[in-house]
Amino acid sequence: MAINVKVMERPVGEVSYVRATLKGMMLTLKHLVDPHRVTIQYPEEKWDLSPRWRGTHRMLTTEDGKAKCVACGLCPTVCPANCIKLVPGEDEEGNRYPLVFEIDEFRCIFCGYCQEVCPEEAIHLGRHYENAEFRRDRFVYDLERLTAQTHPVSELWDPAHPKGE
């Protein structure tokens, strides 16, 4: 049954794939002779992170190794993802400290508000991205783990130098 199939008459130069294939192969060839590298040799080489990179958290400690946190409750209050669990308590010297401080890194959206709001400069986001675990529950970081981590912490954006790193 003849239906009205309209056959477009196009010039050969437009419909031929030969030219496009050759163009692609030329690009490949160019990369072969001029190897400018876009990959790095991870894990031997590591990425150079921006100072403002926001990765998994770290809790800074005082000189005697205790967490700087005073359990003021501002980070769970400001957290938009509601990923921080904090139960305040008192230590033997009568100081306020967190009985429970847990961050669910799965819920966290790495906005950095907790670091920004912290009056004691205790909780920080880290310049760190290697977070793989074998178990899901390992992504809830407790106080012990947060204080034990050693990676560098991220810097806050400085409104005085909005374009600065």
């Binding site: 409750g73 209050t77 305040p88 308590g89 100081n95 009056p119």
Partner: protein
């Protein structure tokens, strides 16, 4: 009020008419303007020491402290004029000179008037560069901890102890920047109403040891309630966090407790969180109590009650609604109801008329009496006859040897309660109910004032509100209570059938309370 002369004045462009002698601060409240203040408190004598409430009054040479300046005819008051704002900013800057700004670890943070007004009107930064004065924290005894550094010397606590509690043990000692609140030697703030200084303190200087470091003010859910500590029925606020009651504070009610709550009532909230609760309905199956569906438990209870006389022992901590439905059960089975009430020494607050920690340490003694329950403090089971069905509504046998012979006279025992007493023989059915923090209801205080309390947290397990469980139970034994679908509907049934409660409704009671018919004599 009609014989009182009214004075017209303008506050922030708003016309108000207030009785002669009212202070500008109170008049401004009526105009909807809250003038910042620290030392002023409506329940205390005016001191005028904080200078925070300075306002500009036209034709007055200087700024006037609005807490101590009476209104005048035709006055024009500017609360937010440049001059007034500048003065209050200066006051705040001076108050903050020695204030430690330890808001992150201060319990008052979030409900602190110094924080609020500083955000509202204070400077963004401090010009004070010298070291701040430091004083150690002092334990004032009782529930009160005094954090000297945070104190702004408003003297509300001093005036409360002097004029309201009339036990002057606090004073301002030292002068100048060394001034602080001091306690009389050998005196502790263990007076029955002393912990009110914690609520009166506008900053975090006087904090509760019980609440210390437990929660932040902004995390708490607040629910209007009524204190269950005694028959005074002080209005209170239950503050909960994650379904746990963490503190009880007074809720002001001019007719009952003004602004106060006694220490015993304030600290008596832990039982509301108890974990060993009866959570599922149970019936006796093959000699042991087994969890069952609600409907089966009702049917089993009705079966035990069929043709028997119910002897109901009710707790005076139950709501009017629950007691009324128990009364229906009693009437239906031709039984009788009794209650007992723990007592203790009465502890009045001298500065307030008709306010005391009452001898009867339960909130609804009056309600139980109005609903025909007989008070039997000595032996609550004395009316129990052989073959009766004993209905225990909540923890009524505390301290009574449950295995004693009195209980054995009953043919069966039905427990309607938050807990299941141990070693209780012959239990046919046990129905779990919610406690006062988990349901809505009303109490009648000793002056016949019916007051509502609201639900603050969720009940555990399958527990139902007492009015719900008892309405279903009453229906199951044949006293049709199908109209009791809500606490308000249950109260409407109560008001319709009990002459004492006639004319009352939840709408009328509101959150301030309303008095039952025939009371009023002796009421405050």
């Amino acid at each position: 009020m009609s014989e009182q002369k009214l004075v017209n004045l303008t506050i922030e462009g708003r016309q108000v008419a207030v009785p002669e002698g009212t202070m500008i601060l109170e008049a401004a409240k009526q105009a909807g303007v809250l003038i910042p203040h620290y030392c002023y408190h409506p329940g205390l004598p005016v001191a005028g020491v904080c200078r925070m409430c300075l306002v500009e009054v036209e034709k007055m040479p200087k700024l006037a402290p609005s807490c101590a300046t009476a209104v005048g005819e035709g006055q024009v008051v500017h609360v937010y004029s440049e001059k007034a704002l500048e003065a209050r900013k200066g006051v705040l800057e001076l108050l903050l000179i020695n204030h430690p700004l330890d808001c992150p670890i201060c319990d008052q943070a979030g409900e602190c008037e110094l924080q609020d007004y500083t955000f509202q009107e204070g400077r963004a930064d401090s010009r004070y560069r010298e070291p701040k004065r430091f004083n150690p924290v002092e334990d004032f005894g009782g529930d009160v901890l005094y954090v000297t550094n945070r104190c702004i010397l408003c003297t509300r606590c001093v005036r409360f102890m002097d004029d309201v509690h009339q036990d002057p043990v606090l004073c301002v000692s030292e002068r100048g920047d060394r001034a602080m609140i001091a306690k009389a030697p050998d005196a502790d703030l263990t007076q029955p109403w002393a912990a009110n200084v914690i609520d009166l303190c506008p900053v975090g200087a006087l904090v509760s040891k019980d609440f210390l470091n437990k929660a932040r003010a902004w995390e708490l859910d607040r629910t209007a309630s009524v204190c269950t500590g005694c028959s005074q029925g002080c209005n209170s606020i239950l503050e909960t966090r994650d379904n746990v009651v963490v503190r009880q504070k007074p809720r002001s009610n001019e007719d009952v407790n003004k602004f106060y709550l006694c220490d015993a009532g304030r600290l008596d909230y832990r039982w509301m969180n108890r974990a060993d609760r009866l959570e599922v309905p149970k019936i006796a199956l093959a000699g042991a109590l087994s969890p069952v569906d609600w409907e089966i438990a009702y049917a089993e209870a009705a079966k035990a009650l069929a043709g028997k006389r119910a002897y109901v022992v009710a707790s005076p901590k139950l709501s009017n609604e629950a007691l009324f439905l128990l009364k229906r059960l009693i009437t239906k089975t031709g039984g009788e109801g009794a209650f007992r009430c723990a007592t203790g020494p009465e502890a009045p607050l001298p500065g307030v008329k008709d306010l005391a920690l009452r001898a009867d340490r339960a909130p609804n003694v009056q309600g139980a009496e109005l609903l025909g329950f007989a008070r039997r403090d000595a032996d609550v089971l004395s009316g129990l006859k052989d073959g009766d069905v004993l209905v225990l509504a909540d923890d009524v046998l505390e301290g009574v040897d449950a295995a004693a012979s009195a209980v054995a006279k009953a043919s069966a025992v039905i427990v309607v309660g938050t807990t299941l007493p141990l070693h209780l023989p012959k239990v046919a059915a046990a129905l779990p109910i919610a406690n006062v923090a988990e349901e809505e209801g009303t109490f009648t205080n000793l002056r016949g004032r019916v007051q509502r309390y609201l639900q603050a947290k969720a009940a555990p397990g399958l527990a139902r509100p007492s009015w719900y469980a008892l309405a279903d139970l009453a229906t199951a034994v044949g006293a049709d209570s199908n109209a009791c679908t809500l606490p308000s509907a249950t109260f409407a049934e109560l008001a319709a059938s009990e002459p004492a409660f006639a004319g009352l409704s939840y709408d009328l009671i509101g959150l301030r309370g309303a008095t039952v018919a025939g009371a009023g004599a002796g009421a405050a």
